[in-house]
Each structure stands twice: as structure tokens, then as C-alpha cells.
Symmetry: C2
Subunit: 460 residues, 2 copies
């Protein structure tokens, strides 16, 4: 068993390799998936590997791993690297606390709770509110769904699903809604996908129509998922109007802000989630807009009773000291739980709420740079809208799937495509707040250069 | 936005603080939970914090955070620190890939798959087997339950729970079984808790009796959870005999090896999970016996079809290149997913399967040291059994809850208590493979010294 100091030294050496590599090759050289195992020795064997070989191998792995922190990575709803958050996550690895009890997590419990308390205050939840750190946005939505289900039929926890529940979400919402309905015993057929308007926002009138129809058919409307930042267009569902309906029919309202819920940190953009204080639960991912390492998801509930009712379990061998408010395992899906809070806390503490606001606003500023560029250039067709950090476009009618794949395979830039209604397009996500205006313009430049040099690209 | 190099330097400085502190104060000074917020400034504010203050604050937080890697931490089913695994997890933080697609994770996909393939081989699963990395042992059990449920009634995914399913687990199994039944729409009342024998192992005859009774009552036996390492006693359910039953009645058999499933790495101890190749799914936590940072959980299924059937979802905006075998999001609960595989791979690759075997066997060796000590010392009463790394005992009839709390509050050592049938006792977990014989003997010494100096301790 080797020494921690040696391995920390090796870590530092490898980070230097990575940072140099990120500058030299912002898009990592791609290994064809079919040739992966012959290209890098990933094999696990009976014998130990000698140190120098191991170091070289790690170097190879690092060099060929896709770079998500560079100024040419636009493929996902995360990107870049907030170094103060990296610091916190590195410390979490070394400290290695599990978040279920105060006895084992100590002040880390307070760190998690402070983030939750401040977040609840920001969105206007009252004194009964609380929350937890699920393992991602899908899990946040799942926990909300379970709470919605259990609130509508508390006997479900003991007796299982016995009632014809139906749930609602927009056609543009995240696919976890579909999976979650299956996991929770509700069933995918009992999701009502509500139509979105021309800008990708759930149409409240359609929601109410559907609820009325379901009530007439003796179904039980149980849960509505509204989205703050849809996956493709980055659209915001009209929470206030949806809340009018969920309050009227007594349905759990969850706001899935995994992608763009962090607008709560900016008083210039928090109008996009106006009405969120009327929801029952709200989730956001700090590993998306706020740039922490993966994963850092937060779910807030307007009354912590619901979190406790659905997720608590007594366990004498575990909860042995301190009260429920400090033994966070009573309100989490998991038992053992990684410390995902520290990275967000080191970021927030060091740059302040003001700093988080700047991070959020930078992304909209970059989006506006992209929008302006596209609008002023007739070779582009724009498919997205204002107040979104997803910039959707096509260039010279090049088939977007083919273009994205070619850009990736030729190490030009990493970007994905998406669809809305009849259209398919490239989706540029301006979520990396480390980027400057110049990086966005450079993205268009490398794309255009590549297209001009590649006449074989298919047109739509 | 500060510089990554500065923050890496700060990280290195703080790790030094931590390591020094671990030697000086292996048990961190405890802050009373009620005084936490006045003792450390955890508050998040609008303004940024100045760098020096921030550094000092982090130092305070680190010093007062419970130390889980020291030779006086025995409180949980994890402890210690395998430095090669720490290296991998630190790299995962910096690389920050999400594991859903090959496009974004590249060779990290192969790293995860290699661990899964080798693990499947070790337990004797066939060529159709596969697996994934859930976010913990509870989630592993949950994924298994969902697969068992969906296999018994495939229409459940679409229509929800419509059949009277019942599931089975021993009274000594992990509490996640109870929570999971609720989450999956089965309901806690539909769990049958099967009696354990005098050594804490599920009694197969009782299982079959219960199944027959349920069949007679038109219930549908759906899922059996067997445990490899029960939470309190560390007992191993008799998998072969249970598999005879689950095969006969066509019931999904899951083996929850969260705690001690890693015995598969030792040919001296893998007899404890004899028959595991007959299970439908098996899970183990490398962050427990193998000492990786939290969390590193693996679930294996004997046929990957089940994983795909219950957890896949198409998403055009996400799965854009490479095949399903490389786009791991098709078989995970989550969408975005942290890289929990790299830490295990760096450990395994560097020390070999042989090294993992040594880690596992060291824990049983330490357990034997503890057992010998207790058996040869009449002041102790022993409550646990051979072939377990949970050593359960009482000393001089001191009330174990009071003693554990006092040891913790006086910074002597961190250890917990547990119960089995009528008895309550201290549970010493010899899971930290960094420990030597001397560390175990020292544990008893500090405990005895403390008891001798503290006559006020309550007796049973």
C-alpha cells in the first residue's frame, strides 16, 4: 500500500499534464470506440503494475479523455471549471465523510444545510422548508415525484400503488420524467405530455384541459413537473400560471431547474422562474450553470415534512447521536452519501452570492454574443429564443447531425444537436462562464472554416 | 474567477494540514451540534471572502471535520484511505466527465466496463452479464428491485404497479430494502422479513414457507434479497440454498454485497458467497472493503437485457454517436453521472487483483486479532462470529450506547453500537486495511483506559 504523499505528488504532476494538454489540444484526440481496448491498456490483471508504467498509462488516459473544461467544449449542459469549487471537491475526496450522520460528517452537515437554507431564502420558501443533495437532476425529479405520489396517497408507502395516478409534464421536459414514472410504479403510460408553445414552454391551458379530462375518467392528477430551462431550447415554463392550476386541483408542483434553475442567483434573470415560491419542490444543479464538478444537485421542498415522510427510516445502528436536523440520512434517498456540498460551499463562500450572480449573467451575456452573431449573419438560421443559454442554429443548411459528428471526429470543437417540433439544429450551450466573448466568436470561426474546407458535408 | 493553479496550491497546503492533524489528533475535536453555527463561520453571504480569511476558515473546517482515515475511526463500514484510489478520484474531479456517452467520457467508459467485466468473471456470471455504477448500496438494491419487479411484470413499466407483489429479505438486512419497497410502488407492508438463524443468516426453510403461504394467498413472490455481510453482524446469507428456492419459484435473486461482497477478490474468503453465480444481480461497494473514496458501488446483472429494459430511454439530443455498448447512460438510473470508476481502476490497475485480495484478507486478519483478544479476556463478552469483520462485544457490562457516545465526545475513538435479537453491543469494524495488529490492540487499550478512568459509566 503506497504512500499518500507520493500519490499526491503524482496527482500534481498529472494535473500539469492535463492543463498543458487543455491548452495545446482543447479537443482531445478521439479514440474510435471500436479500437479503444487495443489503443489503451485498460485491462485489469492479477499482478500489480510497476510505478513508471502506471504513470505513463495514466498520462495516456488523461490525454485521450474528452476535455470538458476547455473553450471548445460546448456539448453538454456543463463545461468549464470553477477552480474554487474544484478545491472543495478535492478536499471532499480527501476528507471522505459520509453525509448521513453528524457523528461522521460534523461541520460538513452545517455546510450542506447552509446552502439549503440560503437557497430556500432566495426562492422565497418559508420557514418550514428544507432540502437535500440528490445525486443528480434525474434523482431530484424522482425524489419530487415520490413525494408528490406519497402526498396524494400516503398509504402508498405501506401498501404500494393502488390508485390510478397520472402525472403531467411538457413534451420538452427531461427524459427522466418518463423513466421516473416507471420506477415509482406509476407507469409511463400515465404521464400526460402537455403541448409546448412555439417557444417551447408548457401551455397552461392545455394542462388544465388534460387534468379535467383525467378527472372525468376517474384518474387521479398527482404531480406536475414544470421545467426551468428545457434540455434542448433552454425554455422556462410559466410557473405562476401552472401554480394557479396545481393549487386549484391540489397537485404537487415540482420545478425542475436542473439546467437553468441557478437563475435564482441573479436579480436580472430570476424573473424567469417567477412563481417558484408557490411550488412544492424545486431543484437545481450547481454542476451545470455554476460550474462545480459533477455532481452537485440540490432539491428544496417547501415543507420538510414531505422529505421526511417519504425518505426517512429509523436505523438504530446508524443514528446514534445528535438530532434529526443534524442526521441528514433521514431525508435522503441513500444511506451512505458522498459530500457533494463542500465544492459548492467553497465556491459560494469565496466569491459570495454576488460572484454566483456574475457567473450566471456571464452565460446570458455569452448567449447574447452568439445570438447577435447569428442574427447578423445570413448564412445562419436561428431556432432558439431570447433569455436562453441554448443557442440553436444551422449553418448554410448543413445537416446538423453530420456536422456535429464531423466536428467531433476532426477534433475541431465538441457540440451537439437537438430537435424541436419539426426542426433539427446545432445546439451551442454557453454554460462555461470561464469563456469570454472571443471564445464564442472563435467557435463560429472554427465551425465556418471547417465547413468551408469540407465540401462533402450533406445539406438538409 | 481565480486561477486553478492557485487553488491547487491551496489544496496541497490544506492536505498537509489534514495529514498532520490526522497524526496529531486522530479523533477530531468534536463541535457540539447545537453550537456548530456559532463555532465555525459557515454562513454564505452576498460578498466574497478575502483569500486569507478563506484559507483560515478552510483550515478550521478541516480540523473539526471527523477524521475517517485514521487508526481510531471504526464507526462505519468504511475507513482508511487507499492512496492509489484517492489519486484516481482526485483525477476524476479534475477531468470532470459525465459517464452517459462515449463522446463525453471516452476511455473512462472502457475503464468502467473493464471493472464490470472482470467483476462478472470473478463471480462466474456468463457472457451476457454486464453492470453499472449506482450511487451507493441503497441505490444498487433499488435498481435490483426495479429489475426484479419489471421482470415479473414487464407491463409495470408502462402501466404501473397493478399486481400484488411481495418481496423477501432477512430481518438482518439493510434498511434500504424497506425504503426501496416504498419507492418502487410495492409498499413496505409487502416485504416479508424472514427470520435469521442464531448467527444472523437468513433461514432458507422459513423463506420457502413464506413463499408458499403467499402463493396460497394469491400474492406474487417477486424478489429475494440475500445479504453478503449484514450491516450489524457482517453475516453471509446462504446463497446456494436461497438460489434453490428462487430458481424453483422463478423469483429474482439479488445479492446485496455492499458491505462484504468484496470477498470475491479472495480465494480464501469467496466461499462466503458460494452460489453467487446463480443470482440475477449482485452488488458490492468498493468504498467499503476496498477503501476507495465514497462512493464506488457496482451492480452486476447476469443478463444485461434486464438493465437495459428497466433503465434505458432514448434521447436524441444526448445519444448522438457510438453504440449502446459505449453509451452507458442507457443502463443507468441517472442521466448525468459522476465518474466513480476511475478511483477503483487506478487502485486495481496499480496493485493488481492480488493486491485487492491482500486488502480483503487483511481485514479478516485484523478481525481475528480482535476475536482472539476478546476471547482471551474475561472482561469481554463476544456477540459476533467467525468469518466476519464486524466484531461485536461488550466490556465489563458497560452500557454500549453510553460508552460509544462517551468515547466519541471525549475524542478517544469513534465506534458505534448495534443490536441483534435481544442483545446490544459495541460493533468494531476492522475494515480499514491500513491498520495493523497494533492498531486493533490499541483500540482495546484506549477503550479500557477510558472505562477505568470513568467510573460513572452505566452498566447494563
Amino acid at each position: 500500500m503506497s504512500n499518500i504523499n507520493n500519490d499526491l505528488a503524482l496527482f500534481n504532476e498529472l494535473v500539469e499534464v492535463l492543463i498543458t494538454e487543455e491548452e495545446k489540444n482543447p479537443v482531445a484526440e478521439r479514440i474510435d470506440s471500436n479500437k479503444l481496448y487495443e489503443s489503451v491498456d485498460l485491462s485489469l490483471n492479477d499482478a500489480a503494475m510497476i510505478d513508471d508504467e502506471f504513470k505513463n498509462l495514466l498520462r495516456d488516459v488523461i490525454v485521450s479523455t474528452p476535455k470538458t473544461a476547455t473553450n471548445l467544449f460546448f456539448n453538454q449542459l456543463f463545461g468549464g471549471r470553477q477552480s474554487k469549487a474544484v478545491l472543495g471537491d478535492l478536499l471532499a475526496v480527501i476528507l471522505n465523510n459520509s453525509m448521513y450522520t453528524y457523528k461522521v460528517a460534523g461541520p460538513q452537515v452545517g455546510i450542506e444545510q447552509e446552502i439549503i437554507r440560503q437557497s430556500c431564502d432566495l426562492i422565497g420558501y418559508g420557514s418550514k422548508s428544507n432540502g437535500t443533495f440528490p445525486t443528480g437532476g434525474s434523482m431530484s425529479n424522482y425524489m419530487a415525484l415520490v413525494m408528490g405520489r406519497d402526498t396524494k396517497d400516503p398509504s402508498c408507502r405501506l401498501n404500494g400503488m393502488t390508485k390510478p395516478m397520472v402525472i403531467y409534464t411538457s413534451k420538452e421536459s427531461h427524459y427522466s420524467n418518463s423513466k421516473n414514472a416507471s420506477f415509482a410504479g406509476i407507469g409511463r403510460n400515465n404521464i400526460r405530455y402537455i403541448e409546448a408553445d412555439s417557444k417551447g414552454r408548457l401551455i397552461p391551458e392545455k394542462l388544465e384541459e388534460q387534468i379535467l379530462e383525467d378527472l372525468q375518467n376517474d384518474k387521479i392528477p398527482t404531480y406536475v413537473n414544470a421545467t426551468a430551462g428545457t434540455t434542448v431550447l433552454g425554455a422556462f415554463d410559466p410557473i405562476d400560471k401552472i401554480a394557479d392550476i396545481t393549487e386549484k386541483y391540489k397537485i404537487w408542483l415540482h420545478v425542475d431547474g436542473a439546467y437553468c434553475g441557478s437563475v435564482i442567483f441573479s436579480d436580472n434573470y430570476n424573473h424567469l422562474v417567477k412563481g417558484v415560491e408557490r411550488s412544492n419542490s424545486f431543484s437545481y444543479n450547481a454542476h451545470k450553470m455554476l460550474g462545480t464538478p459533477l455532481t452537485c444537485s440540490i432539491i428544496l421542498v417547501n415543507d420538510k415534512k414531505y422529505l421526511h415522510d417519504s425518505f426517512s427510516n429509523d436505523a438504530d445502528y446508524l443514528y446514534q447521536t445528535d438530532g434529526d436536523d443534524f442526521n441528514l440520512g433521514k431525508t435522503s434517498f441513500q444511506c451512505g452519501r458522498r459530500n457533494d456540498a463542500l465544492k459548492f460551499w467553497t465556491l459560494w463562500k469565496s466569491i459570495g452570492t454576488k460572484g454566483l450572480k456574475k457567473i450566471v449573467e456571464q452565460q446570458f451575456d455569452l448567449a447574447n454574443v452568439a445570438l447577435d452573431y447569428i442574427r447578423s449573419n445570413p448564412n445562419y438560421t436561428l431556432y432558439s429564443f431570447d433569455d436562453s443559454i441554448s443557442i440553436c442554429f444551422n449553418y448554410k443548411n448543413i445537416e446538423p447531425m453530420a456536422l456535429c459528428t464531423a466536428l467531433y471526429e476532426h477534433q475541431i470543437t465538441v457540440v451537439g444537436f437537438g430537435s424541436f417540433k419539426e426542426d433539427t439544429f446545432i445546439r451551442l450551450v454557453t454554460i462555461n462562464a470561464n469563456n469570454e466573448k472571443q471564445d464564442i466568436l472563435n467557435f463560429f470561426k472554427v465551425l465556418e472554416d471547417f465547413v468551408d474546407k469540407t465540401p462533402s458535408l450533406k445539406r438538409i
